[in-house]
């Protein structure tokens, strides 16, 4: 009977993977078709414009400025250290005697395409452009007549963490290089490759931020340490660019708290909301299996309930809550080791549902608390679909509404790939980035003996 059940489960899994492959292929074809059908419209715009100027005063320009600031916060070295903590061993939950003596290296590349759309003026064109063109064909001549158009702002981030850990204590180094680029999409991959140098040697390169108009380049790094015990773990770090980062997690129930603050004051050009860059606290991955209820724990999965508080990038002179986004999150992962559900609500003046999602994942995608082992080399997949609800935010040119949302994730123990479309995490950070596509590629290498 258990054999028949396993065979049925295996068959179901294969069928689901086949179905996923077909749906994914179809989706990619639709995406290609959309891109190709958009091509004739694109020809009407100045493809060869050499001097383009984002137009200040527009919502798109303001969004682009907010996006580059948020990009630095989100993918700062501190935030990345927290994000990869579990998978790299920074926050291992094994009993101390089983913790490995190890070295670890994690890298992640993030690209968000179309985070903002910025009205732009092409400075190449003139009223008498017909006599001043290097392009001779009629189509190019007409194209150059369209002198204002929207360009997409893309956000790139390259992060790296490496360190060494003993049994229960260790040190880590985390660095990030973030960029925002207007209308030059072919730069997406080469930029990330080039950024491995400043990310790896940030203390030598130095912390700096540079922003002209809507384009920016920032390097950030932290040095930190961690302790792991059977009952509690903690990570702290100092970063010259962003301030202080601290995170504590309790190992039985899953209580946790993470904070990232920025040193400085309004005199340094920081807004009040920027000073507290990030706060997250609650319960994460509570599992009944941890308390001996194996069958019930496997059936209901793991529960997370936490509060998150982020700056919205909106500077509110007169006080009020518009400068922050506070959301309460509920997640149930690994239900029957296959299903996940998530929902969150906004708190405060514009309270309401923020997102609701339902997902499916391959068995073993999430490890229960206290049962983490070496990463498996087998491909693991998770996908989820849902809706994100945004309130109007006119200062950012957002009329609000409900948006379809999807996230696909593929892991194989060493590498991971995520594709996010209208992801709630992204829209919480960039509310104007509706219908933007994000791609994350990650890599984890762990060396050591257990």
């Amino acid at each position: 009977m258990p054999g028949a059940l396993a065979a049925l489960r295996c068959g179901l899994l294969r069928a689901l993977l086949r179905a996923f492959h077909r749906v994914a292929s179809l989706g990619l074809v639709v995406l290609c078709a959309a891109a190709l059908t958009a091509a004739p419209a694109a020809r009407a715009r100045p493809l060869g414009c050499e001097q383009n100027y984002p137009i200040a005063g527009t919502a798109g320009f303001a969004n682009a400025q907010a996006a580059r600031k948020t990009n630095v916060n989100t993918y700062s070295a501190a935030a990345f250290a927290e994000r990869v903590a579990h998978r790299s061993g920074l926050a291992g939950q094994l009993p101390v005697r089983q913790q490995p003596v190890q070295g670890f290296l994690s890298g992640e590349m993030n690209d968000t395409f179309g985070a903002a759309r910025v009205p732009t003026w092409c400075g190449d064109t003139k009223a008498d452009a017909e006599t001043d063109l290097t392009f001779l064909d009629e189509e190019a001549r007409l194209a150059r007549k369209e002198r204002v158009y929207e360009q997409p702002l893309d956000l790139y981030a390259f992060n790296v963490v490496f360190g060494v850990g003993g049994r229960g204590v260790g040190a880590f180094y985390s660095a990030s290089v973030t960029q925002s680029v207007l209308g030059y999409r072919l730069w997406a991959v080469p930029a990330q490759i080039i950024n491995t140098y400043p990310a790896s040697f940030a203390p030598l390169v130095g912390n700096f931020q540079r922003g002209d108009g809507v384009a920016s380049y920032a390097v950030d790094w932290i040095g930190g340490g961690y302790i792991n015990t059977r009952f509690v773990g903690a990570r702290v770090g100092y970063t010259g660019a962003r301030g202080f980062f601290g995170s504590v997690d309790e190992r039985t129930v899953g209580l946790f708290g993470t904070i990232s603050t920025t040193f400085g004051s309004e005199a340094d050009g920081l807004s009040r909301d920027e000073a507290l860059a990030y706060l997250r606290a609650g319960v994460q991955d509570l599992s009944l299996r941890r308390f001996g209820a194996d069958k019930l724990g496997s059936a209901v999965g793991m529960t997370s309930l936490y509060l998150r508080d982020l700056p919205t990038g909106l500077e509110v002179v007169g006080g009020g809550e518009a400068g922050r986004l506070r959301t309460l999150h509920f997640e149930q992962k690994a239900i029957a080791d296959m299903i996940e559900a998530a929902a969150s609500v906004r708190t405060g003046a514009d309270k309401g549902l923020f997102d609701a999602h339902l997902g499916w994942h391959t068995p073993g995608f999430y490890a229960h608390r206290g049962e983490e082992g070496p990463p498996s080399d087998n491909p693991r997949f998770a996908g989820r679909l849902g809706v994100v609800s945004l309130p109007p935010r006119y200062t950012q040119g957002v009329d609000g509404g409900r948006f379809f949302s999807a996230r696909l994730q593929l892991n194989n123990g060493v590498g991971s790939l995520q594709v996010l479309f209208n992801d709630p995490e992204q829209l919480a950070l960039y509310p104007f980035a509706t219908n933007a596509l994000s791609v994350r590629v990650g890599m984890d290498l762990v060396a050591g003996d257990r």
């Binding site: 492959h21 994914a24 292929s25 990619l28 074809v29 995406l31 290609c32 959309a34 891109a35 190709l36 958009a38 091509a39 419209a41 694109a42 009407a44 715009r45 100045p46 493809l47 100027y53 137009i55 200040a56 005063g57 527009t58 919502a59 303001a62 395409f113 759309r117 009205p119 003026w121 009223a127 007549k145 369209e146 002198r147 204002v148 158009y149 929207e150 360009q151 997409p152 209308g183 999409r185 072919l186 997406a188 909106l314 500077e315 509110v316 002179v317 007169g318 006080g319 009020g320 518009a322 400068g323 003046a349 309130p391 109007p392 935010r393 006119y394 200062t395 950012q396 040119g397 596509l437």
Partner: protein, 127 residues
């Protein structure tokens, strides 16, 4: 072609699609909407009151009709002989109004529209 090859080919095509889909035309009422966004946005920034910002945004479209400006228009054929890129000055001026002036303007939309001479080129009618 094997499923893996098909998937790779699809992925490459999709990547090409994402990379190529770049610029987009501006809507013909884009500059007028920017003025409305600027009034609502500055209201929200100065008062922290999202509901008041929404009310002023909606009142703007009740009070005014947007003048359409084709994105390919040149200075000669734009209302008032102002080049399209310079029409953004209206939103820029409103977004830079000091909060004391925003308090003074209150719900009087016409007062915001005096922030720049080009504002009146973007709308017809008025409260």
């Amino acid at each position: 072609m094997s499923p893996l090859c098909r998937a790779r080919a699809s992925a490459l095509l999709a990547l090409g699609g994402v990379l190529s889909a770049c610029n987009r035309s501006l809507d013909e009422d884009a500059w007028c909407k920017e003025a409305a966004y600027a009034i609502a946005g500055r209201t929200e920034e100065c008062t922290g009151d999202g509901a008041l910002a929404t009310a002023r945004y909606e009142a703007f479209f009740d009070a005014y009709t947007c003048v359409e400006v084709p994105p390919e228009s040149l200075a000669d054929d734009t209302a008032g002989a102002v080049a399209p890129q310079n029409l953004a000055h209206c939103a820029l001026a409103i977004r830079n109004l000091p909060c004391e002036l925003v308090d003074e303007c209150g719900d009087a939309l016409d007062r915001y529209m005096t922030a720049s001479p080009v504002c009146r080129l973007l709308v017809e009618g008025g409260p």
